[in-house]
C-alpha cells in the first residue's frame, strides 16, 4: 500500500524534472507565487493558461534513497508553506499527509507531531529555508528518535 501511495505522488508530480543534481534544494518557503491575479476570462470560462502551474522546483531525489522520504520531499516541495504552518501548530491535514507518506502508524502519530512541533526552529531555522533543507532536518530528527527512526531508515 505504501508503494502505491508513493507512486501516486510521483505520478502527480510527473511534470517535474526528476534528475536534478544536488541535495537540500527545493522550493524556498514563502517564496510567493506568480500569476496570483486570476485571469478574468479564464475564471469565467474555466480555461487553463499554460502558466498556471506554480514554481515547482526540483526535490531532493538525488540524495534520499528511501522511497517514502522521496514522496515526502515531493509533497514538501509544493506545500512547504502549509506544512510549516501545521507543524508549528502540531496539528493539521498537511502534517497528517506527511505521516501517511512516511507510513507512520497510528500509534506513533502523536509522537511524530510532537517531535516536529517541538523542533520547528531546527527544521525551519530561517525564513530562507528550502524544502530540501527541511526534509533533511526532519530525517535527521526522526533518525535520532527511538520510535520514529524506523520510518526513515534508508
Amino acid at each position: 500500500m505504501k508503494k502505491l501511495i508513493a507512486g501516486a505522488i510521483l505520478l502527480g508530480a510527473s511534470s517535474m524534472a526528476f534528475a536534478q543534481p544536488g541535495c537540500g534544494v527545493g522550493a524556498m518557503i514563502w517564496k510567493g507565487q506568480s500569476g496570483v491575479a486570476p485571469h478574468v476570462l479564464a475564471a469565467t470560462t474555466n480555461g487553463t493558461f499554460g502558466n498556471q502551474t506554480f514554481g515547482m522546483t526540483s526535490g531532493t531525489l538525488g540524495c534520499q534513497t528511501n522511497e517514502s522520504v522521496q514522496s515526502m520531499a515531493m509533497y514538501m516541495d509544493s506545500n512547504i508553506d502549509k506544512v510549516a504552518r501545521d507543524m508549528s501548530r502540531g496539528n493539521g491535514e498537511n502534517l497528517e499527509t506527511l505521516a501517511v507518506l512516511l507510513g507512520v502508524e497510528e500509534a506513533d502519530r502523536g509522537a511524530f507531531r510532537d517531535v516536529l512541533q517541538d523542533n520547528f526552529a531546527a527544521i525551519f531555522p530561517s525564513s530562507e529555508t528550502t524544502s530540501g533543507e527541511a526534509v533533511d532536518a526532519i530525517v535527521a530528527l526522526l533518525e535520532k528518535n527511538e520510535s520514529l527512526s524506523k520510518y526513515v531508515a534508508a
Binding site: 514563502w30 510567493g32 507565487q33 476570462l41 469565467t44 474555466n46 499554460g50 491535514e93 501517511v100 525564513s127
Partner: protein
Amino acid sequence: MARFPRFITFDRKSHLPMSNTLRIGPAVLWLIISLPLQAQVQTADKPLHLDPAWLTLIHYQPSRLGGGYTSQADDPAFFLSESGKTSPKAELEATLDAIQRPGNGNEHARCRFPARDAWLRERLDLPAKTADCPGYQEWTETLNTESVTLVFAASYLNSPSSMFGHTFLRLDPPQEDEQTNLLLANTISYAADAAAHDSELLFAYRGIFGGYPGITTVQPYYEKIRLYSDIEHRDLWEYTLNLDQQEVDFMLAHAWEIRDRNFDYYFFDENCAYRLLALIDIARPGTNLLDEVSTHAIPSDTVRWVIDKDLVSKVHYRPSAATSVAHNLSTLSSSHQTLAAAIANGYVKPDSDEVLALSPQERAHVLDATYDYVRYQSEADSWPREMAAPLSHNLLRERSKIDGVAPREEPPEPEVRDDQGHDTFRISLGAGQLAHREFTQLTFRPAYHDILDPPAGYRSGAQLQFLRVDARYYTDNDELQLEQLTGVEIRSLSPRNAFFSPLSWQVGFGGRRTDTGDKRVLAPYLEGGAGGSWSLGQQTQAFAIATADLEIDDDLRRGYDAAPGADIGLLHQNNRFSLTAGAKTKAWIVSSQHRQDQVYAKGNWHIGREFSLFAEFTREDHYDRYQSTWQAGLHAYF
C-alpha cells in the same frame, strides 16, 4: 438555466431496455460468427451500433445537419476505423475486429480501449479472459480508486466572473485504510489547453469558436487545493457520488481511453463540466446527464443535475484559505483583532511582552489568525517577501512553543449550498409607468444572478448577468420597444474592513434607451466603475462608486457621448427581501453638456427560491425636466 432546457429538449437517444441485453446477446454472437465484419451487427429491434451505451462511449451526438452521428472526439487516435468519427457502425465493426485479434500488450486494442472491450464482451457474450495490459493495470493500481467525488469550485469573493464555477472529479482511495489520505487522491479534470502567451482576447475568441484542444489531466488533489482554495480563494464543495465499484472501474477504463485524446474545448457547452457529465453517463448507463445540456453547461447547474439524478451520497464543504482567514479573524475579540492587525503591520513583534502576556490559548489563536492573514495578504495583495517572510517565520516559531492548543474550528458550512440557490434562468413580467405612459415589460435573463435576487447560495454583493433582454409594450400607442439588451453586466460590492480592503467594481455593455432631449433612442453603451463598500451590520452595506459611461448614437450631436459620474447607495440582502436605494449622477460632457441626476429605490420580496416580487422607483432630473419611472412585477426562476 438549470431546468428550463427540459421543456425544450426532447430525448435524443431512444433507450434500449436493459432486460434486452441478455436475450439478444447470443443472437448477435451468431451474427458475428456467420458474417464477420460485413455483418449488419443488428438485434431484433435495433442495431447494436445505435445502442445508447455505444454512442456514449464514442461520444457520438446526432449531427447538426442531416441525419447520422458525429463524435465529439477530435483525435484520430481515438478511433479504430478511419470513418469512425462519423460512423458508429464502422467504428463498432473495427473495434470488434481489433479486440478479437490475438496478442497482448499496451498497443493492443483491448489495452487501449478497455471500456469498449468490456462493454462489447459483456453485451455480446464474447470470451472474457482478461487481457495483459501492463500500462493500464499500473495506472488503475496507482489510482487505487474506490469511489468518485465531484468537486465544485465555487465563485470567489469580489470576482463575479468566477460565478459559473468549475468542476472536476476526485478519485478517492478506500477509506478504511489509515494509510490513505484525500489530499493525495488524484483528480481528473478537463480544460482548454491554451498557449501561455495567448492574450485574453484571443483566449475568449478561440474558446467560443473553437481552436483550443481540450485535454484531460490527472493531478493530485493537493495541487487543486493550492490553485482553487489557496490562490483563487474559492471554497470547494465535494459531492461524493454513489457509484459502486464496478461503475467506478468502468469510468476509469473510459478515462484511460480519453486520457491523452483531444476533444476541442468550447466555453459554453463542451467545457470542463460537460466532459465530466459524459464520464458519469458512461459509468452508469441510462443516467443521460448530457441530455440536460442544451446551449450551455454552467458548472454550477451541472451540479444540480447530478443531485437531481440521485447520484450523490454525501456532501463535504472545504472552505478556502480566504474564508478561513476571515472566519478566524472574526472569532477574535476586538482587542485581539487590534493586536493581530498591529502584529501583521509590524508595530508589535510576535514575541513582545504584549503577546506573551496572553494565555497560551489566546496567544495561539492570535498568532494563528495573524499568520494566516499575513499569508493571505502576501498572495492577494502582494506584500513584499522581505517583509512578509521574516514575519511569517517569527509567527510560526512563536506558535511552535505553545503545546496542546488545537487550532480554531474550521468555518461552519453555509446553511445553503451553492447548488441550492435560486435557478439561474429568470423571466420577469412587470407593469409600470414612464412619465405617465403606461407599459408592460417582459424580461428574459438566461444567466445568472443580480444583487436583488434571492441571496442564499450566492456571494453577497456579487452580480453577473448575461444576454438579458428587456422588452416594453406601451399601451397608449400600442408600441412594442426594446428597452435594453444587456450583453454582460458584472458588479462586485465587497465590504472593506480593518483587515481587507477590496475594490468594489462594475462593468457592462449592451444597448439601452437613452434620452436625447426630444426622444428615447436605442444606443450601444459601455459602462464601468470602481469604488468602495463598507459593511453596516451583517447584511447591509453602503457603497460609493465612481462611474464612467459611453453611449454611441447618430442622434447624439457628435455621434457619441461620455459621462463621468458617481453612484452612492445602500444594499441590504436577506432571505426574505433585498433592497437597494441610492443616488446617481452623471455629467455628460461631449455632445451636450448637461447633468443627469437620479434617485432610485428597488426591492425584491422573495417567495421561496422560485419567485420574487419586485418593485422599483426612479426619479430623474435630466435636461432640466423631472420625470418618474416606476415598475412592479414578478420574477420567476427556472
